[in-house]
C-alpha cells in the first residue's frame, strides 16, 4: 500500500513542482509588463505632452524613430519574448514536461494570464499619471469596473494567449532536451534514419511482427 502510494505520488509531485515553477515565473513576467506600461507612457504621453522645451528642441534637432516604429517591437520583446524565454529557461532547468504536468501548469499560466490581462489597464493608467506627474487615480473600484466591463471576453482571450505562449515555451524546452531544435546539418545532408535516434520518437509507428508491415496511420 505504501509502495503504491509512493509510485502514484511521484508523478503528482512532479506535476505540482511544475505548476509551482510556472507560478513563480509570474512575478517576473508582471515586472516585464509593468516596464512595458511605463515605456509606453513615456513615449506616448511624456515625449508628446510632458517633456520640457529643451528635450522637445533636442528631439527636433536629432529626430529618432517615432513611437509608431518603436511600440510594436517593444511590445514583442517585453510581452512575448521575455515571458517565452523565462518559461523556456525554467522548463529547461527543471526538465518540465508539457505532457505529464499539463494541468497544474495550465492552471498557473491561466491565473497569471488573467491577472496580467486585468492589470494591464490599471498599469497603463498609473504609468500615464506617473510620467505626467499627476496624482494617482488608480483604485480598486477601477480594477473592479474593468473586471465587470465588456472587455471581459478580451481578457479571457488574452489569458488563453498567455497560456498557449507558456505551453509553447515548455514544449520547446522539452524537445530541446532530446536534440537541438534545428538540425542545420540535416538541411545539407540526408540523415540515415537508423542512426538519427529515431527510436526516441514517442509516437513511432509500430511494426506488426506477423506481417512485417507497419501498423496503420492513426491520424
Amino acid at each position: 500500500m505504501a509502495r503504491a502510494q509512493s509510485v502514484d505520488g511521484e508523478p503528482r509531485q512532479e506535476a505540482n513542482r511544475a505548476g509551482l515553477a510556472v507560478l513563480l515565473v509570474g512575478p517576473l513576467v508582471l515586472l516585464a509588463y509593468a516596464v512595458e506600461s511605463f515605456l509606453q507612457a513615456y513615449e506616448l504621453r511624456y515625449l508628446a505632452f510632458g517633456a520640457s522645451n529643451q528635450l522637445a528642441a533636442l528631439r527636433d534637432l536629432f529626430p529618432g524613430p517615432s513611437y509608431v516604429a518603436i511600440l510594436p517591437w517593444q511590445s514583442i520583446i517585453l510581452e512575448q519574448a521575455v515571458p517565452f524565454l523565462l518559461f523556456f529557461w525554467v522548463a529547461r532547468k527543471m526538465r518540465l514536461s508539457p505532457f505529464r504536468s499539463a494541468l497544474p501548469m495550465a492552471l498557473a499560466l491561466l491565473f497569471w494570464g488573467m491577472l496580467l490581462a486585468i492589470l494591464q489597464f490599471p498599469f497603463a493608467a498609473y504609468a500615464d499619471q506617473v510620467v505626467l506627474s499627476q496624482p494617482s487615480g488608480v483604485s480598486f473600484s477601477m480594477i473592479a469596473s474593468e473586471l465587470m466591463s465588456l472587455a471581459l471576453p478580451g481578457r479571457v482571450g488574452s489569458a488563453t494567449d498567455f497560456l498557449l505562449l507558456g505551453f509553447t515555451a515548455v514544449a520547446f524546452a522539452y524537445f530541446w532536451s532530446d536534440r537541438p531544435l534545428w538540425n542545420f546539418r540535416g538541411w545539407l545532408e540526408e540523415e540515415d534514419p537508423a542512426t538519427s535516434g529515431e527510436g526516441m520518437i514517442p509516437d513511432q509507428p509500430k511494426t506488426d511482427p506477423s506481417s512485417g508491415s507497419l501498423a496503420g496511420p492513426q491520424s
Binding site: V68, P153, L165, P193, P205, S219
Partner: protein, 155 residues
Amino acid sequence: MESDRYAEEWNGLFPRLVLASAVLSVPEFLIEYFPNFVIVRSTSSANLATALARYDTVYAILNPVFIPFVVFALFYLAARVRINLSEDSAKVALSIFLGALLAFLPLYLIDGLAGDSGIPVVDTVIGIVGSSAATSLYYTFIGFSAVLLSYYRRM
C-alpha cells in the same frame, strides 16, 4: 522506411502549415478592419457613430472568440498529419509564423499606408512589420499548441 510516415519539410509540413496559417490569418484581419472597409464606406454620416458603437460591441466578443479559440480548433484540424515534433518543432513553429506573416504583412501594409498620417513612411513600415510580427507570433503560439495537442493525442 518508417520515417516515410511522418510529414517532411516539403511533403506535408511546410506547405500545409504555411497555407493553413495564411488562410486563418485573413479572417482576423477582416474582423479587425471591417469598420474601415465596410461600415465607414457604406453607412451615412448620421448613422455612422451608432453603427461603429454597435460594431465595437460585436468586436469585443467576436475577436476574443476567434483568437485564440476558433484559430486553435482550426489549426488542430489542419495539423492532423503525423508530425515528429521531437525533430521538427522549430520547423512547425517557423511554418506557422511565416504563413501568418505572409498574410498579415501585405494586408497591414495596404491598410497602414493608405492614408496620410503625417508620420514618416519608414517609421510606419517598421511599425507595421512589428505589428504583423507580433500578431504572427501569437498565431505561432496558438498553432504550435494545437499541433502539440494533436501530437499528444497520437502518443
